[in-house]
Symmetry: C2
Subunit: 415 residues, 2 copies
Amino acid sequence: MCSCVIQSIDAIDARFSLPEGAGSDAMHTSPAYAMSLTNLKTEGGPTGVGLALALGDGNRLVCEAIRMLAQPLVGQPVEEVMASFGKVARGMANDPALRWLGPHKGVVHLALASISNACWDLWAKSRGVPLWKLLLDLDDEALVAALDLSYLEEILTQDEALNLLRRERPTRQARESILSNGYPGYDTSVGWMAYDDVKVRELTLHAIDRGFRAFKLKVGSDDEDRDARRAAMLREIAGDSGILMFDANQRWNAPEAMRRCRVLASFNPLWIEEPTHPDDIRTHVELAQAIAPVRIAAGEHIPNRIMFKNYFLYGGMHFVQADCTRLAGISEFLTVSLMARKFQLPVVPHVGDMGQIHQHLVLFNHIGLGLKVKFLEHIPHLRAHFVHPAQVRDGVYQTPQEPGASTDLKMLVQA
Amino acid sequence: MCSCVIQSIDAIDARFSLPEGAGSDAMHTSPAYAMSLTNLKTEGGPTGVGLALALGDGNRLVCEAIRMLAQPLVGQPVEEVMASFGKVARGMANDPALRWLGPHKGVVHLALASISNACWDLWAKSRGVPLWKLLLDLDDEALVAALDLSYLEEILTQDEALNLLRRERPTRQARESILSNGYPGYDTSVGWMAYDDVKVRELTLHAIDRGFRAFKLKVGSDDEDRDARRAAMLREIAGDSGILMFDANQRWNAPEAMRRCRVLASFNPLWIEEPTHPDDIRTHVELAQAIAPVRIAAGEHIPNRIMFKNYFLYGGMHFVQADCTRLAGISEFLTVSLMARKFQLPVVPHVGDMGQIHQHLVLFNHIGLGLKVKFLEHIPHLRAHFVHPAQVRDGVYQTPQEPGASTDLKMLVQA
């Protein structure tokens, strides 16, 4: 274990080009993927790398917020920062100048995500273990000390969080087989909005050949018939046993969502994702009741633990798509996972990190929290940019072995 | 009426110093008031000025977002922009690169607030009328065309918005006396958190002398007894007929809020404001039921019309403190006001603009929407910086007569 004092903080505005049509959905016809990177350098020790997803020039704002928010970390040993990271993160989240801009949402919260993820990456690297192992090795008190549970006290006190963790300890070992067996990926890259039918068919067949059995389709076309045609085609290719998920990316208002979800329900999807605006808890609740047994997935744009708490209490989602690059990083992801455990809801992350960090987090959730991994989203477009890209073999995620959170990018190593 | 083509857009990062202790509350011990200004220059015509409130260096981020977001307005005549401002604003709110950072909240939404307010100011100036008169002069279709009603369709369609406006027309004239009579201000500047008891007493007595009968006190001290002591003192000075409001600025979690609101209820406040986190609809709903007849006020940090809709549908507030410098400007303020009219809730704005714009908006709400003005918050600390500061005489707001939204700042005129 190195002493690993944080010497300097850089924010790096990384832009990536995607293949034609990749990443397109009902709201983003031609997304320019970007990542707001936080680089924590130590003297002679490892470098912590954190990331948050953004699009195009929006990334500049997040990088600027990282520079403003992360300064208090300079000069701190990582073990000290992480020993009370709940307090440290809360301090940054409540920065006197920046809290006003949220609170706990938008540009500043995305910056906090990137910073927090860099701190966790550095912590795991400094101990020479992959993030999933760091999380499993921490005692319960140390894990809870790394979380900011404020504004959740009526449903999740520190003691309740500790009890949730302790309760799962006796059965951990029985769940550790996942470390060697892996867990399935589901393929989001077959059904981007801009892809024509021929391409969707080809990609799906190819994905089936590579072992995938679950597929996401972008819906919310202006042409309603196009959604139904693509859904029918995908169902035909995947067969009755294939798992389909439809993702509307917030495209519909309440009456539209009600009508179009009912149409799409006939293709028997596992879930319909982001049917409407992420702030509209009420409409999610009404949809959840109206389109059963089809279920609702949301989280990609739900900004913080407090909004998730409200979704859980009101019953607005069935699948919790928390994302550690939208929430305030790994800590708030774990906080939301603890709440999901209490509400007995499955956590199936949205992978703003392209799965790099979440492949660790779902292993911890499965073993440490008893939140069974059904599968994890797989989006391969940026894999060439990572030093250790997530490995999916025969449709199954392989357990990462390198120290850290798998966030190292080639561009940073070369620089 | 000038042609008023928008020639250039500047964002100006204005900082203001406050007297010692002014502006302090339970979350902001020493706030550095700042305003993100949007300056829309026209050739030979007036300059539109918009503003959003921020604190300290956070203001830089909002100004940068203004520069990124407002570019499509350059070269457009203001009449054209405002003829379909609902669409224009929606286009900016859904900017392909910036929407991801919200959507519709945080830095980008504050930027949109400043930009929208500048457009309205320019529109009123170009017609040579104060904002309140522009709003009253517009026909119902033109007003609704300036609003983005998306994601509200199940409770407020364009037709319903038109009907709400039409229904009030026959009784408008009876409400126009407010233009000559004015309406009361309430004084927020007597009870800042950092003020000691002697100062609160002095300021309150002085405010009573100047005609004020309603006062806000900051609560949420670490020392619980201090809140009670200050509340008792203020009640004693104001007398039983004085109106008190207590503002916790989000300080408490749910169990704390429940306990402390019950204690403070004994001092018979009109409302308790921001008792907890602004995203926590559920806790507001439970508090609203638990502390009746004391009522809940919120809005200062509620980011958009969709969150307000959820608050209204779930019953999480009694007083709607919408703020056109937190929402996407005057248009979204009016949208929330229309919803409030439908739900029969009073709108009592939070004045992030120091009341400059809201003094116009409550006049329109009163006359055009039948939303009776009870009073409007008065915060005098920045009045020396405005070209036409809001005039409050004998505790009563006087109707502004100068063209525009009263947003001109001396620093811009001198520059």
